[in-house]
């Protein structure tokens, strides 16, 4: 692996398609502005320009592939690339945090993988430190083994000389969690993804409408409208239903075979059917966990568990955070977490805010709803009154928020539970919390209540856990607990 290597030629095609995807919107706009293709009067010159651009993009994809080489040398991963300017990027192996594999539709038939190299420095905004668009799985595995060996060597250095002959085999993965198909289907059915698909369909139609020669079908449309409101309503419903169906299928594809493995000090999450994704999260980068229960899934007894991790562009992808357990029965969480992160405890019997906080929660959640209901009721008199129902709903939400809020300290762990709409439970270790705040307004001071807020590092920014209107003494207790940070040392890591 010491001689420079190229990526698989398919990566030229992938580059091309990717650039094309980014340029899709301007392309469509040009087509639309360019008059009616179907009716025949097309201006040739802009089209030719675009054809030229396409060829250029394809060419640059090929040249970029030709220019891209990678190799392992002197304990560094060395990548050289660049279309016009030659760029060299040398990444020391022991700086590499993780390798992420993913397989798109181009990769699957040829047994290729895309490898993203993550270092501590690569943050969510910039993407991975380095990306190998397409290499053979064999090569990828080889690369992984090499990096593992190299890292191992640097760790041992200074203690004793490692015998070169001895083969250091990477420890085998242990599967700690697999999502059942039933859970995946439940997740798909209760997901909010439908909204995204609907807006996608809407955008598509708004673009598509311009392409259709409207004049000729105008009369038909008119007839259509005369058939009546019912038909329109029905077709809208049908479109929504189809969109919902598509979103369900997409979710199932995306999360099929979701499993979590434990591999020495790394957590490995794999998922996906057509497009396979593999993410590696070093255990010592995990800052905390968050358990989410939304209004639809909570009554079904389901929750999701998200990892709050300190870095890597893995966070950038489809979710801003890492779903460790996307959909799981709440009572099963404890068992799974016990296997993965044994020092985290999912507690019960939380200390709750006092009775006198209740009306504050109600006001906090509902004031805006009722305020908005006033003008709505006045200006849209009979039907506007319906907005009061929305206000009442917010009131119920406020009551739930009061009911769900709570905190718990056991040893070096703080658990904060709160709800805005989704019920969120943050489980944090003292030595991972970046800063702690207590806040108290003038009125809260008189009622001796105060709120508490904890910030964790998440990706390149922070994740904030909070709990409102606690007993003032409770907040002080939490802050004091945090203040004694220096007396605890973080458990040893390697």
């Amino acid at each position: 692996m010491f001689e420079p290597r190229r990526l698989h030629p398919i990566s030229a095609v992938i580059n091309f398609v990717k650039t094309l995807k980014d340029a899709a919107l301007p392309l469509i706009i040009v087509f639309v502005l360019n008059g009616n293709i179907l009716s025949g009067d097309v201006e040739l010159i802009p089209l030719l320009i675009w054809a030229g651009v396409l060829i250029l993009v394809l060419g640059s994809g090929i040249i970029r592939w030709l220019r891209f080489t990678y190799r392992m040398e002197e304990g560094e991963l060395r990548i050289e690339h660049g279309l016009i300017f030659r760029k060299k990027r040398y990444i020391p192996i022991d700086r590499i945090q993780s390798l992420d594999f993913s397989e798109g539709i181009f990769h699957r038939p040829l047994n290729l993988v895309k490898v993203s190299v993550e270092t501590a420095g690569s943050t969510g905004t910039q993407g991975a430190e380095a990306e190998l668009t397409a290499i053979h799985r064999k090569e990828a595995d080889e690369l992984e083994t090499l990096i593992f060996q190299e890292k191992h060597k640097t760790n041992e250095e200074g203690q004793e000389v490692v015998e070169d002959e001895e083969e250091i085999t990477p420890p085998t993965r242990e599967k700690v969690y697999g999502m059942t198909m039933k859970d995946i289907v439940w997740m798909a059915v209760t997901s909010g993804g439908a909204g995204v698909v609907i807006s996608g369909v809407a955008v598509f139609f708004s673009q598509f409408m311009d392409l259709i020669p409207l004049g000729s079908i105008y009369r038909e449309v008119l007839d259509w409208i005369q058939i009546g409101f019912l038909v329109v309503a029905f077709s809208v419903f049908l479109i929504l239903l189809i969109a919902y169906g598509i979103s369900i299928i997409m979710t199932i594809f995306r999360y099929a075979y979701f499993s979590v493995y434990l591999d020495a000090d790394d957590l490995i999450i794999t998922r996906g059917w057509l497009e396979k994704k593999q993410m590696t999260i070093p255990l010592n980068r995990i800052q905390g966990i968050r358990i989410d229960e939304n209004l639809i899934r909570q009554p079904l007894g389901y929750a999701s568990v998200t990892l709050i991790s300190a870095g890597g562009s893995v966070l950038k992808g489809d979710e801003h955070q890492l779903k460790l357990l996307p959909m799981i029965k709440k009572r099963e969480i404890e068992g799974v977490i016990q296997k993965i992160l044994s020092d985290y405890q999912i507690g019960s019997d939380f200390k709750q805010p006092p009775k006198r906080s209740l009306y504050r929660y109600l006001i906090r959640h509902a004031w805006f709803g009722f305020l908005a209901a006033i003008p709505l009721s006045i200006f849209f008199f009979p039907y506007g009154m319906l907005s009061i129902i929305a206000g009442l709903f917010l009131l119920v939400l406020g009551w739930l928020a009061y009911h769900d809020a709570g905190w718990k300290i056991n040893d070096h762990q703080l658990t904060l539970r709160s709800r805005t709409i989704i019920k969120q439970t943050y489980v944090m270790k003292k030595y991972r919390i970046q800063a702690a705040s207590g806040t108290q307004s003038f009125f809260q001071r008189r009622a001796s209540l105060s709120s508490v807020r904890m910030t964790l590092k998440s990706g390149s920014g922070g994740a904030v856990a909070h709990c409102y209107y606690l007993e003032e003494d409770d907040t002080n207790q939490v802050l004091d607990w945090y203040r004694t940070l220096n007396k605890v040392k973080k458990p040893a890591e390697n």
Binding site: Q287, A435, S437, S441, F442, S458, L479, R483, L485, K490
Partner: protein
């Protein structure tokens, strides 16, 4: 919330904030002059002027007197070997604890007005948050920056 942090920020901050308040009021005054012209030229209703005068009066009291006084009184900080303790906020009082082990770096900054008053603002960054102590005495800020950065260096830890 229980015992407050010990240190207060520079008394000169009060003057500085009052100057900011004056600038803010001046802007409103300029707008009012524009309004007066409009009232005379295009016969806009005269009670608009009354409202504007009322706003100026309230601004005078609130932004020049009330807010700086309360803000200054509330702002407290304390830097110990273990942590940085901040307290601020006029209506909503926030108390923040930043352990020394979490501090990544410290900056001081100084705009032209701050420089004139020999004040400087110190910002303390952790991996996820930034905390600012505004309008500290220049020398105090410098001293603080050095002590925090040396304390933070001792207490080494990864993210």
């Amino acid at each position: 919330m229980e015992n407050q942090p010990a240190q207060q920020i520079s008394k000169r901050a009060l003057t500085l904030w009052r100057i900011y308040g004056v600038i803010q009021v001046m802007i409103v005054v300029l707008l009012t002059i524009g309004l007066t012209v409009a009232v005379f030229l295009w016969n806009w209703p005269w009670w608009l002027l009354l409202i504007a005068l009322g706003i100026i009066l309230i601004e005078l009291i609130v932004t020049i007197w009330l807010i700086p006084t309360l803000r200054w009184k509330r702002w407290r900080y304390e830097v110990s070997e273990q942590d940085i303790d901040l307290q601020y906020g006029i209506f909503i009082v926030t108390r923040t604890l930043v352990p020394m082990v979490r501090v990544q770096h410290v900056d001081t900054e100084q705009g032209p007005l701050l420089r004139k008053f020999r004040l400087s603002t110190i910002s303390i960054s952790t991996a996820a948050t930034i905390h600012k102590i505004p309008a500290l005495d220049e020398n105090e800020a410098e001293r603080l920056r050095q002590s925090i950065s040396s304390l933070a260096r001792v207490a080494e830890d990864d993210v």
